[in-house]
Amino acid sequence: MGGTPTDLKMIDENGLRLDGRRPDEMRPLKIEAGVLKRADGSAYVEWGLNKVMAAVYGPRECHPRHLQNPERALVQCHYNMASFSVDDRKRPGPDRRSHEISKIISEALTHVVFTEYFPRTSIDVYIEVLQANAGTRCAGLTAASVALADAGVPMRDLVASCAAGKVADTIVLDLAKEEDNFGSADMPMGYVPNTGEIVLLQMDGDLTQEEFEKALKMDIEACKKVHDIQRDALRRRYSQKTDAPEYASGPEVKGVA
């Protein structure tokens, strides 16, 4: 970050961005709930060129035992980028960045889940980034909260997430890869629309106070839209069986010995 020099013209004469969006326009967002059969809850998110899958297991017995909290459940998030998710092969395995993202997403989700209902358990959230194009932590958090609701985990509200930032001295919403790489600031946010709480806020780069406030406002509006799409995805899962996509899993009778 910090504006690597580039010949790309981030914003053209008409005030449109590289991909033709207006500064306050989000990339197209598509969410599908309940896509994985084996997980207790799941969601698949396509956000522009981002493709993210989230799976939730639990509440289940917490291992290792010393992590158990006798008063509440532990929300454990595991963010992972597939090696094929970026142009240069990503070296597989946990790294500094994925640890950080896992931590902040866990903390964001802990704020909305009624953890006190499930003492000593752990709620495991797995976020797999299949294709990345900037803003994967927002896509991951958005997918994770839909997956949690799909798993039937009691929570205060769905967490919606979106990023805002500064590109070519303009405050823009939902940065795409080139904008993130060559722009001067990126600010992802997690927002709880019902209460107006901000459960995730990071900033990479610099913004003045006015710019920050403008970006925050833009972000909140975007999160409300994301929230509507999340709710719609969950409702669709149980509305009509006929218009459910083929890969959506139905409830299943599992045989045990």
Binding site: P119, D150, A151, G152, P154, P193, S239, V253, G255
Partner: protein
Amino acid sequence: MRVRQMDASDSRESAREVVVPGDLLAITGKKAGPGTYSEGGKIYAAQMGIKQVRPDSISVVPLSGQYIPIRGDLVIGKIVDIGASNWLVDINSPYPAPLHVNEVPWRVEFGETRKFMQIGDIVLLKIVGVDEVKRIGVSMQDHGLRKLTGGMVIEVSPSKVPRVIGKNGSMIQMLKNLTGCRIYVGQNGRIWIDGDLDNIIKAVQAIKMVEEEAHSLGLTEKVKRFLEEGSRMEA
């Protein structure tokens, strides 16, 4: 078989509104029932499920979720570990359930637990205690509780168990009558079925149907038609 308070019945409610966490359910006046929470006098949904309005309360019947033990529940467990004075039972919940030798109908000497039940055995138990940190107490000392031999066990989502039982046990009674199987439904989503192989298969198909169409209307009738069709084809 004991039936927990029934939720959305087959016929009574026609409009079934699916709500998701955070949805506003009511401004005021009613009690916040299960699956909801209240904040600032308003009631919101805490879980994804079907909204249910009663004269005095409002609740959400969940569509998915883990089984959380409640005192008095009948459950079907599987022995997963054996101690000197207890068996550890998996009851398909986040919490393991130790079955102490004092809670079984036999006199078991210390260290002789293995002579009575092995790992993998299926047992019908009752939840006799759940404390504030969700330590579970189970017992096999009540009418009908025992080790289950023969038959087979299937698993359904615990949130669908009330539908498999039906209003006042109507669904399960019909399943038993029309298939001639012996069936136990645990609140934890495990169902034990015993009978002729053909009948077991038919019962499993019917239960699968109940689970898949758990929230459609006229389900009992639909399942009845399905079962009767099968028997007519045989005749």
